[in-house]
Symmetry: D2
Subunit: 345 residues, 4 copies
């Protein structure tokens, strides 16, 4: 199969390349960019020296459609809303890693992203690619809206209790923390080494564009669940997301029973690993891998449950899940090219 | 004045030395240890080369009392419970940086610290040294229980609304994050560079020994406030604590009115800096300094208030506040020796 | 094939496991330790949750010999000198990652390691496993002395010019820098997060035990080359070694001609990547991979050549090269299980 | 005294402000910028909240001259060559932190900086501000060319042996390492967090613009010394420079005698601290302070001397030394406002 990566120069793009260039069903990886057209890929990413002789091609939709059977869009928000319609074609499938196709209501996109939303028919066709939960729809989809990094960690952490309607509505609070690669490759003072090293920042308080994405999915699972409190922190590390989730349950649950519920829920999902009682995952436990690790503990003092969900934001939070969806869409074994043991230390 | 630092080889000890050796009212700094007796201090901390020719003395209570007018205990928990009674004397004042004298109920100490508590009369005499709030009691005190790092950030973040009984009880959730120096200097796999670099950990979930300290003080301010949810994360940085606090209020407040309340509350407190609307502090904004910076934002979508409070855990969270209390106790201008501009970048 | 890893709880051990558990010729990985016998491996390395159900076995030589066809020793120096004789057997091959079997003269080992050397017959049998250079001997070897991390980077950086006798003797200076994982997993103040973060240290000046290893090999290549100046620095990062090498040549060479020499020399060596003119590698270019990247530049102002050689200390500097040697020894394609694209960013 | 800081928004500027706002002889600090005119300084550096209400003024030379008695230029190279002539006035003294006025030969500046050099009369008037060595000239100077960060560490490390003509010419090799704040505040991919974290880079090999500055000064001290080999590495830390210097001496020296020479040489220089035998400084030993720490060791195996010299690049390598020079120029005690104990940890 021939696959195209649009936005190959970003961190999502290079992570897609790392996985796909090692994928047994991929015969050719075409690279597209709107910033470094004509350059060899290795000039942007020197760690590919001797491993990649490909050039970066300009982003011409007709050509992209012709050259590929599946197209990954690893572009900043605002690009694929506009680009996707030009790429739609019976012969190609599209996996969009940006936030442009995730919100079903165009008005929500406008409100949170402050940009022009995609056309309604595109939004309708796009299937939300939370692999573990939407497998059957993903299988049939032509367009995938690949979930955001924060939503992936948060939703996988909440799915078992929200799908089972166990949660007291209005009590969900998510304190999320991310490594800096989530902010992309474009340089800015806010993401420069000196400003972040030995520093901890909160940002976009109550305003992060991943909030409506999380709420949309939770609400689909349990109509009672509506607004959540969600905050995001920048951690001085490269990769990794941790969502620390606080929630009240409708009735009392013991730890063990909750863990059993989670383990049962994720039994056949090879990339979600539920930890044993008393053990919580750290972000480095999933470094460079497609796993989502979950730990939890009920606090009888406060009747509140704390859930910790960690992923590698570039893998399960972006490129890894995109390839997982690619596998599902094409009937390839789901873990193909994704069976990395995390890089530790 | 002659001051003694017990536990001089730890991070609290060296930070006390950094401040006190520059304090105009301090004529002599005596250093005590139970681990490196007889060694020159500079052999433990080479950055003091040419700046300190003092030796580390053994921890002999009688001698310590004789040699000093005030004694700082910068020791691990479990030490000062035992040591303080031997140091009590009309001629000396004691400032204990450990958690041993903070909990008024001995049973609480036993439960959370799993150690033998201090004698009741010592606990009764010890004044909780949250400088901004307890000034008048601190002035008269002979023994200070210097607050913990997490409690300092959390309590200063909550004081204005809890003292004014504005908070809906049972809704306080504190997601706290700390740099690694808070874990002390004793080596362990869990605090080694390789295990923490590019990693994010949650620890002691629902079990951190600072929980009862925070609850005790909140409850004193507002009898309705009891258990809180509190979690602690280890951030790959050296210094700094951020407490992200989520709380519901009894009635609706606008952002601006809340900020006015906070600014009014901290008007004459030079070390608490309330940020303007829409601005949140980062931990590096207080690096190496005694400031506590606070930002907040009410979310009308969820009717929940998010408060962010940051300190340098070794300064306002330990040595800095201890010296601030020392100043208050001896009628010295409160900011003496503490007027550092934060080291940035 | 059944392989054994002795010292599985260290960083060399876990990196061997990461590679070997994915090696198509390895059917079983047995784990041995002298510190956590009987525990599940996942209790030491939680990132293996769901991926490894094996236990750590005690280090009983007879049993180890019986259970494996090849044994990797990833133990601290001083262990394999003693242990190897007990493991020698016609049916097993041994790959020792420690420094114990590298120095041919026992007296040199005593002098630099301050420990008892291995028996002479063991030292005689051990083949120095610098894969790119010693392929033919490695193929026949029963015991491999796997090169040190610093020597690997340094020797690969110097081989083309020293083997061709181009170097002015006595002019070789190597300024080496390493990430902290090279210091092993045993906790110490010197390798704790707080002491190393935002810090840069030089250590073991003129005394590093890798000096005689490098000199021994250089001298074998060019009898004129004897003592070198070599220094080692600890960089606040987890993985990676950079050797910055300064050397004078016997005659003037142009950059381009030197680069051609290097590219020719490493033409059929897939894990050594010589950079183009004007480009120097960074350590992250080889993160998590088995590559050694080399850049160089001749300075006509000083008639001195600067060579930069980088590796991942846990991969090409330890576990990766060990598996490369394993492949060579057993006639398996040399790059098997080692074709990782570096993890970037 | 009224002082002006031009380029107040850069890292040199804010470090000058940190020192000067605490300087007993400074009554007023005026801030100038060409990028954020009219903004409050605190909007650029929020850690100054409550501590600074000053605005950033546009860079109008006439006004700057009128408002200040001394002007610090903390601007990128290329600015002060042009600006200094407009600021020269009998009533003001100028301290230039950039590289524009350091090289006496305009042609050298053009060659290494690829920019238009300052006018000859300005270059002639500018005194090289290596405080420890040029005290008497600095005292009389109207214009100071404040030394670069790398040259300060390197020259202080070499001064005792080069001034005493002990060095074998052509043998000086300096392997220098710097924290990222040395690259300034302007964002770029090369200085972004994700590209540098857990990474080690060499840059500007044989081409760094500090090379001629070092050579000019060494040559002034010893006419035999000419070209040196000098390389620069970017370390994933915020502050700190280490120069590891390799050199051969004209005759054999014992360690102890060399250390005595250094200690004697720097006897009355409070900011240079020569370490004892066997002890080498780390960069964090001088964090946030104006010290230059030096360790050294002669290697009888290779007859080569290794010298290690560390500074905080923003302090002794920029703002700290600038204030030291300011003190000397105005007859103020040299250590005024600079007596910080380094911030450790």
């Amino acid at each position: 199969m021939k696959v195209g990566i649009i936005g190959a120069t970003g961190y999502g793009g290079i992570e897609l390349y790392r996985i796909l260039s090692n994928h047994p069903n991929v015969t050719r990886c075409n690279l597209y960019t709107s910033s470094d057209e004509g350059k060899p890929y290795v000039s942007v990413y020197p760690h590919l020296h001797d491993l990649c002789s490909d050039q970066l091609h300009p982003l011409e939709p007709e050509r992209v459609k012709e050259e590929n059977e599946v197209i990954f869009l690893a572009t900043p928000s605002g690009v694929s809303a506009n680009l996707t319609p030009k790429l739609i074609d019976d012969r190609v499938k599209i996996i969009d890693l940006s936030g442009d196709l995730r919100l079903k209501e165009a008005g929500q996109y406008e409100k949170w992203y402050k940009k022009t939303p995609a056309a309604e028919h595109v939004l309708n066709d796009a299937v939300y690619g939370l692999s573990e939960i939407n497998r059957s729809k993903i299988k049939e989809a032509q367009i995938i809206a690949n979930p955001g990094c924060y939503p992936t960690a948060t939703l996988l952490g909440l799915a078992p209790i929200v799908q089972n309607q166990l949660v007291k509505p209005k009590t969900i609070i998510v304190d999320a923390k991310s490594g800096v690669s989530g902010a992309g490759r474009k340089p800015s003072i806010g993401t420069s080494f000196v400003e972040l090293q030995d520093n901890l920042k909160i940002y976009k308080v109550h305003e992060h564009q991943h909030i409506p994405e999380i709420e949309q999915q939770l609400h689909e699972w349990d109509k009672e669940v509506q607004e959540i409190t969600f905050s995001t922190h920048l951690i001085p590390m490269t990769r990794g997301i941790m969502a620390t989730i606080y929630v009240e349950l409708l009735e009392d649950w013991e730890n063990k029973r909750l863990l059993d519920l989670y383990k049962q829920f994720y039994k056949d999902k090879p990339f979600v690993r539920v930890r044993d009682e008393g053990v919580f995952p750290s972000t480095k436990d999933v470094y460079g891998s497609n796993y989502c690790d979950i730990g939890l503990k009920f606090d009888p003092r406060t009747n509140r449950l704390t859930i910790v969900s960690v992923i590698d934001n570039l893998m399960k939070g972006a490129a890894g899940q995109a390839v997982q969806n690619f596998n599902i869409m094409f009937g390839i074994e789901e873990t193909t090219a994704l069976r990395f043991i995390p890089v530790y230390p």
